[in-house]
Amino acid sequence: MNGIHDLGGMHGHGPINPPPTEPVFSHEWERRIFALFIGAFGGGHYNVDEFRHAIERMDPAEYLLGSYYEHWLHSIETLLLEKGVVTRDELDQKIAALKGGH
């Protein structure tokens, strides 16, 4: 698809500004979603092509604003919902429970 992910040759995305060093993960949730990707992939819930395509189907503005691991979260949620592995209600109920537990 002619999506926002197909970036090669575009102008205007600004400087790269590579920092001298950076941690492997910047937040705890990045660790969890990274590992969840391999765990759910190894469990046979999606293949890597489905995974990439679910990222490509993101809203373009959200894609550009979101970090790499936000893309991963989006993709895994999308695929597990589409395949019926989890339901929206199950996720929403769990989020509510986690909020209540604070």
Partner: protein, 209 residues
């Protein structure tokens, strides 16, 4: 297919979404959270650019190994014990006085995990992915590198299922150095093609040699 989910979630909601997803999958018995802990530990503390540096240093000191590395990267890298996820099929490209190689994945952020670990954020970013193919020399300038116009810049867009590693040129003044000394000179960026290995004298002083 889209979901009427809030697309403007603040970061704290991302944290909740991840927790909820992991928790629901664990409740269903579809993931083992201790396996996730193990995966995080592997990629945070064990699998990183030190692996690739060992490959490069061996290629610098062992001409037969260098040949094997350039003709069948996957097998030669596996000789040193590095293989697997996102390095299943490897190609190694060699810098020479005439050619400078650079790696990118314009379509996502494919990167050779077994030899370099997980990619830095800039490698996955729109600025790097958009520009490397159209303005590689401009990108190199941002990394502090200016190449002669006579040198060929070869960009490798690794957007299929082959993963690429740059074999940088061995620094001058390292004749007679052992493999384990040379490993210390190999930087992550030099194996992506946006940097060079450290130069010899500095390292000698650091190492107290």
């Amino acid at each position: 297919m889209s979901h009427d989910h809030d697309h403007t979630d603040p970061p704290e909601d991302i944290e909740l979404r991840v927790k909820a997803l992991e928790s629901v999958l664990a409740d269903k018995g579809l993931i083992d959270t201790s396996a996730l802990d193990e995966l995080i530990d592997l990629y945070e503390t064990k699998i990183g650019p030190r692996n690739g540096a060992k490959v490069v240093a061996k290629a610098w000191t062992d001409p037969d190994y260098r040949q094997r590395l350039l003709s069948d990267g996957t097998a030669a890298i596996k000789e040193l014990g590095f293989s697997g996820v996102q390095g299943e099929d490897m190609v190694v490209v060699e810098n020479t006085p005439d050619v400078h190689n650079m790696i990118v994945c314009t379509l996502c952020s494919c990167y050779p995990w077994p030899t370099l670990g997980l990619p830095p954020a800039w490698f996955k970013s729109a600025p790097y992915r958009s520009r490397v193919v159209i303005d590689p020399r401009g990108v190199l300038k941002e990394f502090g590198i200016s190449l002669s116009a006579e040198k060929e810049v070869r960009v490798w867009d690794s957007s299929a299922e082959l993963r690429y590693l740059v074999l940088p040129e061995r620094p001058a003044g390292t004749d007679g150095w052992q493999e384990d000394q040379l490993v210390e000179l190999v930087t992550r960026d030099s194996m992506i093609g946006v940097g060079f290995p450290k130069s010899a004298p500095d390292n000698h002083q650091q190492a107290g040699a």
